[in-house]
Every structure is written in C-alpha cells, then in structure tokens.
Amino acid sequence: MGKRHLMSGAEAMAEAAIRAGCRFYFGYPITPQSELAEYLARELPKRGGVFLQAESEIAAINMVFGASVTGARAMTSSSSPGISLKQEAISYMAGCELPGVIVNVCRGGPGLGNIAPSEADYFQAVKGGGHGDYRNIVLAPSSVQEAADLSYLAFDISEKYRNPVMILCSAVIAQMVEPVEFMSPRRPEEVEKPWALTGAKGREPRVIKSLRLSEQELEEHNRHLQEKYATVKAKEVRYETRYLEDAELVIVAFGTSARIVSTAVETAREKGYKVGLLRPITLFPFPTHVIRKLAERVKKFMVFELSAGQMVEDVEIAAAGKAAVNFYGRMGGSVPSPEEDFEKIVDCYRG
C-alpha cells in the first residue's frame, strides 16, 4: 500500500493485474470495458508483457488458454455478448483445470442490449455459463478500490484452484473514478507448476485435456472437480455485513446494487429502522451459510439487483423458507436512486 491514484475501475483492475504478475492480456474491443484493454495496451509492453488484440472474443480466451497452458498468468476482459462468446473455452479451461482471469463489465441485455449499468449476467457467471458441470469462482467488486483488490487476488485464487476466476461488475464500477491504493508489484513466484507444458525436458510428457471418453474416468474427473468446488465453498466465501446484530430486515445485494442500496440502508438506520446489509463479495462461492443462519432470526430478506432477479434465487435457497425473501430490481441499464431503494426498504419493512 502507498500512494493513492485517481483512476477508473477498469484501469484499476488492469493495473492491479500487472502488479499481480499478469504479463499476458488478450482481448477484443467492446464497451463498456475498453479502458481496461487500452490501459494494458499502453502499459504491458513497457513492463515486459504482451498485449494482443485478437480477432474475436473466442480467439482471445483461447489465447488465455494457451498462455495458461505454459503456467503464465493471463487475462482477458469483455462485456456481456463477448463473455457469451468465451463460454466454450471457459468450460474447456474448467475441464482442463487451467487458471485464467476473465473480467466481465456487464451490459444491459439480452442480445446487444445497451452499455448502461447492469448486473444481469449473474446466472451466466455463477451457474456455469458454458456446458457441463463446472463453476467459475466469481468476484463482485463494489468500489474502484475493491475492483483493484479483487483483480490482484483473482490471479492467486485462480492458480491455487486451477480454475477460471471471473470478475463481474457493471459499467458503474468500471467507469467510475475513485482514489485507489495498489498492492506492491510482484512477479508470480517461480513455483514449479507440475502440470504446465514447458517441453518434456528430462521428464515424462504432460498432457492438458478435458476429453475422457470412458464414462468411469470422466465421472471420476467430475467428482474431483466437485470436490474442488466444495473446498472453494468452504474456504473462499467473502462478504461484507452491516448492522446485522439487531436487524429485522436484511438487505442482500452485490456490486453496484449494493453500493446504491447501502446509502438507503444508512438512511433507514438514521430513521430507526432495524435494517442490515449483507453484501456477497464472492458470488460463487455464495455466502449461503450466512443467510441460512440469519434466516433463523430475521423476519425478512430483501434482495436488490440490477436484473429481473437472479441472485434472489440463491437467497431463497439459502433462506430455505424460514424467512420471507423480497426483491426489487431494475433492468436494461436503469439504476435506482438511493431514495427509490429507501422507499422499497420501508415498504418491505412495514409490509
């Protein structure tokens, strides 16, 4: 930590990635994430890295796959439609157990939608997105500082679990300019990666693959992946809470929605409403156990999202019918005001 920089979230994620030892970026232009790519186009060549503008999002993620095959830290970024195109390779990466960091600065959708703030890619990011039984580890920053911190962290987690990590945020986080402090730059430790392809010098050849034609072998591989996800669920859940001690109504929100609704929660507290806030920072793994425990004593949950309601399903599963789960969402790039959220909170609280 040290000097404070005034930067956008997109630039902060890019700078943090370089400081985390990422030297390889492959991407394709799409708004509203362009500043991330442009920052790396400027910085990576100066700092011993490679920036490559690929022919498509498909090619870009496959280049990440390739760099990752050698054990290098690599990343790509895109926005919703581009992230859809990357899903095939992300599934391959999960199946091949390759690390890699993917940033999704989410657009309003479906289809081409718009470039306004949205968080409607929750299902895609959290539930798989591509084919097969796999999970991304999903991080959801709520400020520019957190975008930087999570970008830095993403590379470690991704390597530790040999699994793709996705950072999911809206254009608000990517475009907003805030002061940010960075971790010290580092080179990734020169640890031997016993799976990386480096030429079979003085050792048996290595193979990176997801193909397992025998049903038994593929089921075993799937069991291994599921065990890994169970470890991730046990060890990597991150969340922030406010005013939960005496809360009767708990607001659950992530990313931009959380940022906005937190102001409404403060207003509600000032006015004497016993309202608390739970902000998942990891969307997978999800803080299910926290909600399950809260459901034993709080009356209601209210979920705020920039979507038609996606995370709300996970809150309902966690609450398991023990507390009511309400929802308020805006779609298509519309963002509620804190006053609007406050009204919804009061309605829910009294209702």
Binding site: R23, V50, F65, G66, A67, C96, L197, G199
Partner: protein, 249 residues
Amino acid sequence: MKLVFDRPKSMKDTVMHYCPGCSHGVVTRIVAEAIDILDIREKTVCVAPVGCAVFLYEYLNLDVTESPHGRPPAVATGIKRARPDLFVFTYQGDGDIAAIGLAEILSAANRGENFSVVYVNNTVYGMTGGQMAPTTMLGQRTTTTPYGKGAMDGRPLRMAEWIASLDGPSYVARMAVNTPANVKKARKTVIEAFRMQLEGRGMSFVEILAACPVGWGLSPIEALARVEKELIPYYPLGVLKSVDSHKAG
C-alpha cells in the same frame, strides 16, 4: 547388426486408433521424425485438434494440449507469446481449420505468429462419421451430401493458397502422402517448415492431402488412387511460398 529403422523418440509405443488405410498415422510419424531430426523434442509443445487427431497425445511422446475445435491457432498464439523459446505446432484437420477455425488460422497467419501448422486435408469430417467439409470436392458424396456436394454447399477451399497470399507466413506448402516418394517429400517439407520457426521467421504451414478410405467408402488402395487422380489436380502439390526464395519449389 545395424539398426536401420526404429520408432522415433518423439513417438510412443502404442497402437493407433486410426482406421485401416488412414493417412494420419503416416503424418504423425513424419512429424515425430522431423522433431527427432531437429532435436527439439524437449522444447516442443503440440496443440492437438478436435477431430480424428484428438488423441494425438496418445501417440506423440511430447507435451500436448487439447484445444477447442478450430481454436488451435489461438491456443498456439497464447503458448508462443508466453514462451517464445518453446517450439510450438498445431496439428489440424480440414473441418478444424477450414470451417469452424477459419478466423483463427487466417488471423494468426496474418500476424505471422511464429509457430508451425500441420494441416491434414482428407476432404471429410472423419471423426463424426464422414460429413461434408469445406474441402469436400464438388460431386463428392458424404453423409450430409448424400446426392453429391453442390457448388452452393461451398466450393472446395484451397487453404494453402489462401495462407500463402498473406504476408505473415514464412513458408507455405502442400504435400501428399499417397506414395513413398510423396511421403519423403512431405517429410522434407515438414522439416523445412519447422526450421523456419526455429529461425524465428514466422508462421510455417504445411497442408498434407490425406486418404480417408472409410469416410470415402473406398478401399485403402482405391483411396490412395483418389488422392492422385482427384485431389492433386485440384489441390496442386508444392512449396507455395518460402521467405528463403531459393528453397521455394
């Protein structure tokens, strides 16, 4: 006694799954021999395709990665950009390279990415049961062109010529493995292509016309004859481009 013929070090001692009369085994051996001759086995990473050669890692005694269908040139780009000191090649079929992976091969070639491409063209999707490929000849019957391929199914794509038209690649050739003489020429060409990468010249690309007796509904001998009679006239053999002009044939 003097040993005159042995398995290349870059090949594993295993039975291949290829159908009788398939050319993949010959091409795999040519690649392994080239790697042995250039003594680069311990710095090689191979990118295997989706298709008949998907099990390449079972046969090559090398570090091998799988790749999504059509994406080997993008995967190889990532490998080579991260580790320029490695020797990297893709091994791809005609469905992989000329249909689903067109954008990736053309873009990588146009960037002059410094890896090598071994492209096996047998004019059909073998692995999935003999469907039409972009390289299927007009009139050729496949399981998805049961009445023969028409012009509006797509004229057979000459990939080597297309790649050779770009400034990025250093070396582009088309060979066949239907006769012992052609096998020898193909081997020499693959060695030359690999050398281009070792010299840092940019992408080297060798298309190899291959027989697929099962996919074509022919006997192995008839299939080799078809390569000679039908394929070579449309897909002419030779070195189409070499940055070392004296080496261009």
